[in-house]
Symmetry: C2
Subunit: 345 residues, 2 copies
Amino acid sequence: MDRPTIDDVARAAGVTKATVSHAYSGKRPISATTKARVFAAAKRLDWVPSSRARALAARRTDAVGVVLSRDPSILASDAFFPAFISGVEAVLAEHEIALVLQVASSRTAEERAYRAMASGRADGVIVLDLHRVDWRVAYLQQIRLPAVLLGAYDAASPFSSVRTDDATPVRDLVAHLRELGHTRIAHVSGPLDYVHSHARAGAYVQSLGSRELLREGDFTAGSGRALTAELLDLPDRPTAILYANDTMAIAGYSYARSRGLLVPDDLAVAGFDDDHLSAHLSPALTSVSTDPFRRGRVAAERLLADLAGEPPESVTVDCNALRLRASTDGPAPEAPHTELEEEFS
Amino acid sequence: MDRPTIDDVARAAGVTKATVSHAYSGKRPISATTKARVFAAAKRLDWVPSSRARALAARRTDAVGVVLSRDPSILASDAFFPAFISGVEAVLAEHEIALVLQVASSRTAEERAYRAMASGRADGVIVLDLHRVDWRVAYLQQIRLPAVLLGAYDAASPFSSVRTDDATPVRDLVAHLRELGHTRIAHVSGPLDYVHSHARAGAYVQSLGSRELLREGDFTAGSGRALTAELLDLPDRPTAILYANDTMAIAGYSYARSRGLLVPDDLAVAGFDDDHLSAHLSPALTSVSTDPFRRGRVAAERLLADLAGEPPESVTVDCNALRLRASTDGPAPEAPHTELEEEFS
DNA sequence: CGTCAACGTAAAACCGGTTTGACGATCCGG
DNA sequence: CCGGATCGTCAAACCGGTTTTACGTTGACG
């Protein structure tokens, strides 16, 4: 015996399926007695409307999508993603809207994924990891898929966006390190074509007035390690390094320690994103908590508002908070070189 | 100008929509020349078949679902989930199948979510956090939703399952600690109505021959801390504690240190799940890596096989590996009590 | 050279809902 | 007491595909 359809319910209630539909949607008035008959019949038959049929007829899927261009294996060690998704789900769950996730590792796969979303997998999408020049913005416009961008983009784009002020915590951190006596402060950034990496690196360069000690990483432990090595090999090595995420920071300071440097005495280290274990490391890692959960909430709320017909809007979430911990605690080392470093110079 | 439909393509190619459909699906032979005309027309019009219409007609959504019963905020600090999802996606991406995620925090919300899946949001689901007696198994049978269970369940259930041997690493860990001289070995488990928590705790009890030092936690840092306090307050306190995940282990050893105990000298500590930062803690945390990525792969592959019509099957993944690190390194303390402990006794 | 199968395509039914147009019944004001 | 507005329901069209049925052509075979 198959799943009951709306026709079965209509027959059982002695009405037509239009009446059943209207009884639920309320788009036409239905008398209380008829409604009661319909609901009773539906309950008796244990009817659940087919979301497939509903989606086709209503041209609405009740799902929102996220297409991830990262490699699946990178997801696994990322502190941002799960928290962000949690925030998104916290909002969607209230509205019984589903989240459709698709990873695509090539540009063509990504285009296919967005087209699939547009063809009815989802009513709108949230775009992560925005690039400074991002083909997706034009593409989404072209295929007319509603979207919310996570990060600041050209104000001329017709999409809502959720922004954060990444510059301030970086400036604050640099100021803090200066007060401690640091003058040689380096930054290991994320890929600079990302909006958020670029914003952080930009604030750093502005504060320092120089890009001499800026190195472009890629958020992986490997790049954190390699670029730390490069920086520590400089004749006048930095006494503090700011990393664009905690993973690189931890890789960096592990490496520094393996070279005999003490953190924070010989080298101050700070991360970004505040992984939930960072406070438990020793020394505890200074970081910037970015509340991805809340950003997820806001992005989802914004997308639902767009879908409900509200005009697109850019909202700025004030979610960044500096967490000063032991890894940047204490005065800068007197001499820029330590005895151990000299063998490298 | 609206999205083109199959009718537009058919008209442009001078055939009927049935021919267009068959040209793509291959369910009827179509001559090469006609096919070429159809494909050319589709390309010219930039046609993408509506997944909504396709889903309705084909009774297949090309999506698989996961319903999470955890609270959204717990997701954020969980090492298992993102890696598992990555593994699932790695397989799904190859087949261009989407993943539909829904969180539901109450039993009724959860039922609604599964019904929604069954009503066409997804072709099948992966069931996580299996309970020893889990209403979902019967429920999924009742609503006839194909599923893969993550964890061992009653062999009589008609579902495929993906199992792991959680007992061996626990036994190995206990044996290792015994060799180091530990005799008072405690275990802070996860909720014992979970299949995996129960399996781990069971192996522990079997190895120890006693449940005197078993405490039931809930995977949160808070419970790790509280139960560690309880164990350390015992007159004959344990010299080693096994935790059911890394979060509790870290909370536990932070607490122990705050009481003046040294890890591993006064107290050996081990976690479970091997969070990606655990190796970087100091002391580095002994843990059991459980390769959630691979389990995700296997679960997804198994579900796709089920959906393709293969008979359900239980596969066991050998993915657990003990990672012995500094937090359990060194001989057990001579005296079960330390001087600091005595003030608590 | 007639017959039958295989081939390729058209036409129509179907999937299970939503939405629109039509219509009888009831209610209202004048 | 009549005409028009409102209410409640039905019937049919529609969403955009897939699948089934039917039928005219070809080609092979006896």
